[in-house]
Subunit: 321 residues, 4 copies
């Protein structure tokens, strides 16, 4: 049904953008982990503003309510349930959309799928949903530590007066041992691809050299060995046959420009006419900077799921609290 | 564990490249479907040679043995089990690799993951494994019909004496109704991304305008409505919010050059030395043409899984035998 | 990880008995269903008191907070998230148990599994957790309607001064068409068995004639046909080969006596001594009456999951709002 | 779809009773395990005859063909695929059943579910299917060793001239550490219940004191502590709150009499008439003895799945080859 990610370390999320709350249940987190609420607050602040200072981090941290699974700051091994209230809730912004579909949005496709939709904002398709990913991702980062995951803006689309922009995000995972990932269908690159392409506005994904590799000849592309098991280049992005090889895991995600233009656009009405509308709601013109922390969260969730052994048995795997 | 694809229409595969056989179990296929063995033979021939004539198709069709799930050519609704013997089996080609890891292959990563591997060819990582995908994909194509799935080579990497090539494959899905795909984590683009990135040598994936979309401004990117619910452009690749919008679903897959060079390469020995080796086995210099049918198979498996309702209830959905 | 039930109609629950809240996410519910909040309130009241009058039903209904997935009382097809606050929260009752394990409870096994536990009540093992099942079950009942599910107390264990009792519950499902259930591992009886044995204090399960069937001869046991496809007896409990045959589905669940005795019992301390303790908390002496609605809820969740086609496509299956 | 058991240690089976073959794919088995083919042969012989001597064990062992996942007798960590040909195949025995449904069998329910069936024997519902469970179960037993699983016939139904019998099987699991099983829905008892009730002819299941516990008072039922963490009685069957407590895990399964009577019975024709028929095929009059090894196999598969950490990481968990 699309609202659950992972098998062994599993996030299920809920929430429409303009409903009461968004949140989720994170299941499979090892017991005995002291959740780093400050780091979690920093990630939430990055998601909200693209940057973070102490003030914003604290404000964000306070807004998440943990309902279960954590006692005195330490995980119990039971499901971690959390919610974030949708405080500044202005659904009346969306009245014009009760019978019309915006271009570039999921209004039409949700109507086709469900025969009903919450027209107040994007519903489940809204980027609001990603807040639950960031909360769970912050915990996942702790689970996979000392593996480090860092995403950054690589390129931004052209700036133009009165218009929106996209761009690309590059992510690098270091400290990951060789042997993580599954053969055939759950290759590390394949699972990362699903994870990244599930982020709102993601439209492209590549490992290592990616599309450029399709233009190389084999003797240029192939990553040659050093005697210590590292390779001289990393065109493959740290994955061979779907399994990590001990080199940094590197990938890139393309995001299309924000779909909500700051100008009037023609919406399609249920009656089959085009109606020029200045779409309401409050939207950024560029979300690529804010996307970096979501990329990291999804990478952490992917790794925590694939590193199942580690996830469940804190004692064996030497997780520290 | 990586050997199963899909939840509602589910393929589980098995087989090392130089073991006794490769094959799989396809579960969730509706009962009462007359399997088109000729079409299946054509797809297998495309996988083997990149092209097909009547002779090759027939030879390929004969090589698949169905063990269960089909009676008198018609599916029973029970698991469809099939196998393909590895007939021309020359594991001695690989003796040199018993204690050494080829560059650009999964030898090292399988050893790291499992502590043991079948060094005779790529084991599970070999492209030999994809034959099971093509068998199941041919059945999946029938299940999703009249949806049509067509992949073709779009670009090939540069040709060079004594070297291997990669390239890109473009795939187009037509006839798909609006409303297929799931919100959030199982977006149609995300599931296709996983499916495609799970194909051996795949290294990049993009929907619609893909990476080029990251360089557009919003008013250029956004797909504007026609009054009939189609859009004037299809930069999004036929998917909004993870759900099909009725336009053709379009995506592109990048494949890196074949990793087995036709020249000596330095292999890494278990002892930590580099040993120049002319790697054995029989390998193509370019697999992009042959990959097109695998791309189609994985797209069909993805759609059949997401169109669960259709898959199970032949009577309701009007599948003809 | 044990906190999720179902594949196609899926409940994930959370909550320790003395944490902030218990609740869950119900995914896969068809869109367009008007949730019958009165029926839901009645089921919650039955769970709380064993019986129901208008007053208790209303009080219970009010205590559930729906966070997402329902707009103006109608399901959106998106995850239904709900929570129930643990209002009268008296964890100090349990201070004596911080370092000791009650007999007949899960204190010791949780400690063995997780290395940490919430000693305040049974944590996840508490019957408090079942409130989430009843909420989801009430919705599941609507999804499978007009199938009717009715459980009742069949026997109660002996009454004795100052002691606790168990008993058996009998459940009957009527109006279920032939053809529901899966072969082999997910037989209808097998899935019901898991569902029922997952209820706290359940210790036995049987379909139809059950254990008595093991003492019959074949010609006595076998259910003979009537010409209209019904059978003269129903020893099999309405299921053949794991699939419903159109007769009522009948099964029985045994519950052991409440484990918390109203007298002092010897608890096992972490130091390995036995300490007589009057265990705190507020507990019934018999929970069999209250269990009937939980049995119904789990049966409804099982059916809604197995009747996947029905669940997702409200239009086809004629669900009324 | 019912043909897969387990998440972390996962068996998918295929095969109709009178098709070409039955078999399965076992995924998630740790690499480096030397499969004990003699023990496997003994289990297959027990399934076929109820008892075993050296001759039958060897004959059975030879009949299983492993297609993948095992190299030189040692598991590779990749899917283990196996098949058993249906050698003495006499489908003409079943011609009378092409248009008629036997009483006590799944003929009618399969027809209702799929609209088509393999009338030659029970198809997927035949006990023939259990051979794949026994093969996988024999490997699972090695994975969970030194945990020991032993099932035996406890009672047999009355003997009567010209009739069939049922009975009960008792199973005891020793050497299992405390802490195995999951809270809430995947309780050890719940998962065992599903596993056992999925065996053909199973009709009842109970843990420990089972149905008798429903007739006890609490102070009689409750298992009192010894100071060493064992308990004086084991009414709960070794499981508290769904998780093993270190005591033997004990349960009982009831089997109804064999449904195929050795006399004429009235079959229901598709036309809605009753036709006296002497049902063909070769059937035992009592299958309880043969069921013991299937009970053990399903218990082993259940434990191997729940003890996921052990299953994947042979090095950590000290599995010996």
């Amino acid at each position: 049904m699309g609202n659950t990610f992972g098998t062994h370390f599993r996030l299920t999320t809920y929430g429409e953008s303009h409903g009461l709350a968004v949140g989720g249940i994170l299941d499979g987190c090892p017991a005995g982990l002291r959740v780093d609420m400050e780091a979690l607050g920093r990630d939430l602040a990055r998601r909200r503003t693209g940057t973070v200072d102490g003030t914003t981090a604290r404000r964000e941290e306070d807004s998440v309510e943990f309902h279960a699974g954590i006692l005195d700051g330490v995980t119990l091994g039971t499901p971690i349930a959390f919610g974030i209230k949708n405080r500044d809730y202005r659904p009346e912004d969306y009245d014009l959309l009760a019978d019309a579909y915006r271009p570039g949005h999921a209004d039409y496709t949700y109507q086709a799928k469900y025969g009903i939709r919450d027209h107040r904002g994007g519903g489940r398709a809204s980027a609001r949903e990603t807040v639950a990913r960031v909360v769970a991702g912050a915990i996942a980062k702790q689970v996979v530590a000392p593996v480090a995951i860092a995403a950054e803006v690589e390129t931004l689309g052209p700036e133009a007066a009165n218009d929106t922009r996209g761009g690309t995000v590059r992510c690098r995972i270091t400290g990951l041992r060789a042997g993580v990932g599954e053969p055939v269908f759950d290759k590390l690159g394949a699972r990362l691809a699903q994870a990244m392409m599930s982020i709102p506005s993601a439209i492209g994904f590549e490992m290592g050299a990616g599309f450029a590799a399709a233009r190389m000849i084999g003797s240029e592309y192939i990553d040659r060995w050093n005697a210590d098991g590292t390779t001289r280049t990393n065109h493959c992005g740290g994955v061979q046959g779907g399994i990590s090889n001990g080199m940094p895991v590197e990938f890139r995600v393309a995001f299309h420009p924000v779909a909500t233009l700051p100008t009037e656009v023609e919406c399609l009405t249920e009656g089959g006419t085009l109606r020029p509308t200045l779409v309401g709601g409050r939207h950024d013109r560029c979300q690529v900077t804010r996307a970096t922390v979501i990329v990291e969260a999804m990478a952490a969730l992917t790794l925590a799921d694939l590193m199942e052994g580690r996830c469940r048995r804190a004692d064996i795997d030497g997780l520290t609290n």
